[in-house]
Amino acid sequence: MFAFMVMSLPAQAHFMMVYTPEIAKEKGGDMDFRLVFTHPAEAGHTMDMGGAQEFYALYQRGDNKAKKIDLKGYLKEIDWANPESKGKGFEAMIPRKLVRSMGDYTFVFKPGYYFEKEEGIYMQQITKLVANVGGIPGNWAEPAGLPCEIVPLIKPYGLWTGNVFKARVLSQGKPVAGAEVEVEFMSHMPDLKANVMHAKSSVDYPHDAFVTQTIFTDSEGYITFGIPKAGWWGFAALGVGPETEHKGKEMSQDAVIWVKAVDM
C-alpha cells in the first residue's frame, strides 16, 4: 500500500535551488539570493537541506586569477512556503561591494545532508549558478574544483531560448560516463518578498513524464539538452559525487547547475 502511494505521486525531482533574479547583469549591484531545497517544476515539497556547509563565489575577469569570495556569513535562515509544503531555506543579500566588478561569478552552494525517509537515503546537492557583470567573461567554462559538478560548455548566463545546453559532468575532476541527469523547468517563479512559490504554473504538463526530463551523459561525460522555453532550467546529475555513505546510510551526492534562457 505504501509503495503504491509513493508510486502514484507525480514524478518530480529534488532540486537544490540557488536563485537570484538576474544573472546577466550590466552593472554590479546587491544580489538577493534564495536557497531552497524543493521541486521547482511543480512548486512541490520543500525539504530540510540539513543546513549549509559552504557558500562562496569564484570571481574571475578575463585572464586574471580567480578569486574566492566567502559568502557563508550572509546566509540567513528563512521559512519557505510552497502551496502544499513548508521548509527551512536560506536567503542571502550579497552587498554590491562584493559583486560590483566586471566578470564571472560562479556561485557555489554546498548544503548539509538531507535524509529522505521514504527511500532511507541521504542526499546532498552541490549547486552552481554562474552570473556575469558587465560582459567580460571569466571562468564560466572552468571546473570549480568541487567533489562533483556540471561544467557548462556554453555560456550559462547568455543562453537564448532554443540554444542547446552542453555541459560535462565531473566527479573529482574526472568525467562521468552514463550518469543520469534530471532536468526541470522552474514553472513556478520564486516570490522573493513572500518566500514562496505560488500555485500558478507557467507550464501545463501533459503527462508526468514531462515534469522531470531525464538525459544521460555520454561516454565522455557530456550532456546536451535543447532549451525549449525561456526561463530557468535546473540540471541535476544524480549520485555522481565521491561520498556514497553518510551515518551508515546510502548517500546520493549530486551536482546541480542552474541556467537562464532568454527569448531572442
Binding site: 552593472k27 554590479g28 575577469r61 578575463g62 585572464d63 586574471n64 561591494k97 560590483r100 566588478s101 566586471m102 566578470g103 558587465g134 560582459g135 567580460i136 567573461p137 571569466g138
Partner: protein, 105 residues
C-alpha cells in the same frame, strides 16, 4: 558621406587587424571611498586590457592624469575635486568614456 564611413571602417579594420573583431571594449570605475578611484577594463571576448592607455580629464577636456591599465587590467587614480571624465583608450573605435558623476562606491 557613405564613402567616408566605408573608409573609416576600413581604417579601423586595418588598425585592429591583429585583434578579434567580435570584441568590444569594456570599462567600469568605482569610488574606493578613500579619495581614490579604481577602474577595471577588459574586452567582451575576455582578452586583457593590460597596457591600455587611461586618462583622467577635467570638464574642459584637459588631461589631469595619464596612466595605463596594469597587469590585472586595473588603473587607480586620485579622485579630482571637480567634475571629471575617465577615458579608456584602446584606440579608435575602442574607447570608453565614463563620467565621474557616474562613478560611485
Amino acid at each position: 558621406m557613405k564613402k567616408m564611413i566605408v573608409f573609416a571602417v576600413f581604417a579601423a579594420m586595418v588598425a585592429f587587424a591583429g585583434h578579434a573583431f567580435a570584441h568590444s571594449p569594456l570599462c567600469d570605475c568605482f569610488d574606493n571611498g578613500d579619495g581614490t578611484v579604481t577602474c577595471e577594463g577588459g574586452f567582451s571576448d575576455g582578452s586583457s586590457a593590460a597596457g591600455v592607455k587611461m586618462s583622467v580629464l577635467d570638464g574642459a577636456g584637459k588631461v589631469l592624469q595619464d596612466g595605463k591599465m596594469n597587469a590585472d587590467s586595473e588603473f587607480s587614480f586620485k579622485k579630482p575635486g571637480d567634475a571629471y571624465v575617465v577615458l579608456f583608450d584602446a584606440g579608435e573605435g575602442h574607447s570608453v568614456e565614463i563620467n565621474g558623476a557616474d562613478i560611485v562606491e
